[in-house]
Amino acid sequence: MRIKPSIVDKIFRIGFNALAFFTVGILVVIISIICVKGFSHVNLEFIFASPEDMGRHGGIFPSIMGTILLALLSIVFATPLGLGTAIFLTEYTKESVFTKIIRFGVESLAGIPSIIYGLFGFIFFVIQLGMGWSLLSGVLTMTIMILPTIIRTSEEAIKAVPRNLRIVSYSLGATRWETVTKVVLTAATPGILTGIMLSIGRVVGETAAVIFTMGSSLRLPTSLMDSGRTMAVHFYILAREGISMDKAYATALVLVLSITAINILAYYIMNRVVSRYS
């Protein structure tokens, strides 16, 4: 017997709805598990105290600082490089074999998994250049890892700036560089910020590439050559070595909330741009 097409249509409509809600449900479940289990263990002391006894007691202050230092310093290195690349690709050159080769490099970098970055950072920065497990090794590895994200988002932000703005600027006698810095970049700033926020989110959540370059010292890094650990690495060690489930949940809560906040901010900025130009 053949089922009526209209009934099949209804079944699939319901099925697609259900699956979409199921997917959102996964997100809700993940975040609520972490909130419920972690909430009672997060307090001011947890955030501002140093860990004791490998993290069984005390707080996560050094790893919060380690995360912030790693993320900010990586951004400091990656933003000029990435933005410069994006400006070059969009404003200073025409599409050619040369830009294709550069784009190929960016795309390939974007596709490399984080463990390979870890492997590379370990052999190049930690061993060959003798930087050891240090904040600096971590920062340089992360810089390369987030570079493609910054390039792509900056490029899109710059491309979204209306042509008229450039034409007006040139007609007023501005040079190319003046047009880029005073007109194009000003208009593209929100989009570029989105890329930076997304990159920070990526560094904050990264583990594999960080643990083999920055190491996992529990102390607060006081110089670029000190090892340190980020929240993600701290959480991994707490969970993997079964040191303390309560502290693991609490760390996960701080970690996930920070990343979620960063990402929401990124999309908020981006949506404002989209509504401005469309």
Partner: protein, 284 residues
Amino acid sequence: MAFQKENFIKFILMVFALSSLFFLFLIFAFILIEGLPLFLKVGLKNIIFGFKWAPTKGSFGIFPMIVSSFLVTFGALVVGGPMGLSCAVYLSEYSGKKMKMLLKPALELLAGIPSVVYGFLGVIYIVPLVRNYLGGSGFSLIATSIILGVMILPTIISISFDALMSVPKSFREGSLAMGATKWQTIYKVVIPSAKSGIMAGFILGMGRAIGETMAVIMIAGNALKIPTSILDPLRTLTGNIALELAYATGDHRLGLFSTGVVLLVIIMILNYMANFGIKKKRLK
């Protein structure tokens, strides 16, 4: 003067732009420099098709890990593929504007959750579930596939969604005007037109699954043999590197870089297949 300054700026920006290529070259160079000598010393065949991984005793076989990496990747696709494609279809064909505004950011947030958190939740919830209802230790191919399947959802959904959205509206209108139902339109017209983009999404999802490390080492059990059932533990290429890199020295460390070379080659092939799919879509 101004002209000279402009040229100088252009030169500096070009150097910046070349940095990505330079970094890519450095990464390949150093992984190959460390990873290739062992292939020459032990033999390509003995590494890629060797069954025994005992790096301190001169055995560097990673065949079980290659198989395991592909198995978890395939498992992730079985779990995440149909779900991801359905979500993309829902987003592009069924959902209203408001749902889109809600769902798209939700997916991005799902993508932002760190892999260690997925791994942790896998250990706490999925592994015991498998152990209690299906048997074995719970650290298994199936548990890993479930977690990886969820992890690749955002990739599959966002790329399939873009592919579906780029199918011209007139195709749908034509089909509906011929009396086809919405599902018939989706199944016979929209999905076939977006096929290469959807494939690209699946392949990028595979790339993400095969490169995933932290979640996998927490759930997979990391045993050194080819799993014979979905309840068996296994060790992937990425897991092998992450588990041993911290303490490996000498040939052992070189062996991990050889593992990295194999992983890098697989990932590159997958990425170019995906890019090919995306470009083909654009040509249309």
